[in-house]
């Protein structure tokens, strides 16, 4: 249905294949979260890899930075309809975390957990093969607390609520267990190109 009198903003045709449907470009970096911004000092920061309830390996901040560092520049897409192009991140690929722990992915499902109690589910296949990382630098600088610092999950090809801020654990689960927003009406997978915003979207 065309909306009377609405013509939309002129889009740069060169960017058409980079902006998913229903998204608008932003130059700044909006902040969204369900609660106050937690402040986590890097000396207290710990990251745990778990299989079910069982911790497999725990890294402190310094140990974590001994893992191979990778840079990723990606477009990101928030379900609240902003997209941001060419965001530059540095951190540790999930592949390198698994390798350091000496585990092959044991299940097809993963839950990311955060310091503030947040969680989000991501299929394991979407985290490996160079697709995702635990990011600690944004645009070459330590990730600010508002954007999830000291460390956040980065899964750039899914809506950005999947890129859990203040991340402190990845947990392999037997079944697909819904996370915080997924239990509150948001889509279990969240592919921006298919506009999987809310529960029940195809």
């Amino acid at each position: 249905m065309a909306t009377r009198g609405f013509f939309g903003r002129q889009q740069d045709p060169a960017l058409a294949n980079r902006i998913p449907p229903g998204q608008a470009l932003t130059k700044d970096f909006p902040v969204l979260s369900a609660g106050p911004t937690p402040r986590i000092e890097t000396v207290q920061w710990k990251f745990t890899l778990k299989i079910g309830p069982k911790p497999v390996k725990v890294w402190g901040w310094d140990q974590f930075h001994e893992l191979p560092q990778t840079k990723l520049t990606r477009d990101i897409h928030c379900v609240t309809t902003w997209s941001k192009l060419d965001t530059a991140w540095q951190g540790v690929l999930i592949d390198d975390i698994l390798a350091d722990a000496g585990v092959e992915p044991p299940t097809g499902y993963t839950l990311a957990h955060s310091y503030d109690g947040y969680s989000t589910n991501v299929p394991t296949a979407d985290l490996i093969a160079g697709k995702a990382m635990i990011a600690t630098l944004y645009e070459g600088k330590p990730l600010p607390p508002d954007h999830g610092g000291p460390a956040r999950l980065l899964v750039p090809h899914l809506y950005f609520w999947k890129s859990a801020k203040w991340v402190n654990a990845l947990q392999f689960t037997e079944k697909d267990e819904l996370g915080f927003w997924e239990l509150r009406g948001y889509h279990a997978y969240g592919d921006p190109w298919r506009e999987q915003r809310y529960t029940g979207d195809p």
């Binding site: 249905m1 449907p21 106050p36 911004t37 503030d116 109690g117 279990a188 529960t199």
Partner: protein, 248 residues
């Protein structure tokens, strides 16, 4: 995938009337073609379509109380400079126009009357909109849960729902709204004239019989950051605070 719920369908809603609230904010009263029941604090997604098929979507909080019925909603939209959707609403949209929306959306920033109280609401600018739905829900339901609101606006003329909030305040039935104006030149009795801070939050909390069980903060990111910091400094547990941040 574990999606069991049916998809939220887009529906056509008709603009019934547009009521200016402040110089930059108007209320858009919409009649739904597919009625739905809401919870206080929820939002809808609005979708506009250009003749070439280009679509723009935005989420807008609803201001009406759930008690106002399933047929009509009130969106309260601020015109944002350089925006794409809000200028359409302010400069083009007229009564009788049809727009597409879907909802209700949001399962976190919501208040139910049987949730434990007291309740503290803190809004900055147009962040008042979902909080207004909560204040109206309380009034319409008659539930006596103590509720305090701290509302920060730039000046008195930009206080959205001002007369209604003053009227709710006047009932003295356990709802208590405190204003602060950050850029007003004229000093007013009982109205703060500075940015939100811990002392102001503490003073607002003193109007409640106990620490709030739930705090809802909505506004710009900077506002929400400052307000949630002040609330935690006043002794409220982090886990009691829910936030919604507008814009970038």
């Amino acid at each position: 995938m574990v999606n069991a719920a049916p998809p939220l369908r887009w529906q056509t809603a008709t603009i019934e009337k547009i009521v200016p609230q402040t110089p930059r904010v108007s209320s858009f009263f919409l009649k739904l073609s597919e009625p739905f029941t809401t919870k206080a604090g929820q939002h809808v997604d609005v979708r506009l379509t250009a003749p070439d098929g280009y679509q723009a979507q935005r989420g807008y909080s609803m201001a009406q109380a759930p008690e106002s019925g399933p047929d009509r909603i009130e969106l309260c939209i601020e015109e944002l400079e350089g925006g794409e959707v809000s200028p359409f609403f302010h400069m083009v949209a007229a009564a009788g126009d049809e727009i597409e929306l879907r909802g209700p959306l949001g399962g976190h920033f919501i208040w139910r009357i049987d949730d434990p109280g007291p309740i503290l609401l803190i809004g900055g600018g147009s962040g008042i909109v979902p909080l207004m739905s909560m204040a109206r829900h309380r009034a319409a339901s008659g539930v006596p849960v103590p509720m305090a609101m701290l509302y920060s606006a730039r000046n008195w003329s930009e206080v959205i729902f001002r007369d209604e909030l003053l009227e709710l305040n006047g009932k003295r039935d356990g709802f208590d709204c405190v204003f602060t104006l950050t850029r007003d030149v004229e000093k007013r009795d009982g109205v703060h004239a500075r940015r939100i801070d811990s002392a102001m939050v503490m003073e607002t909390l003193m109007r409640l019989p106990a620490l709030p069980a739930h705090v809802y903060i909505c506004g710009s990111n900077a506002f929400v950051g400052a307000a949630s910091g002040a609330v935690m400094a006043a002794g409220v547990a982090e886990g009691a605070i829910r936030t919604e941040r507008y814009g970038g």
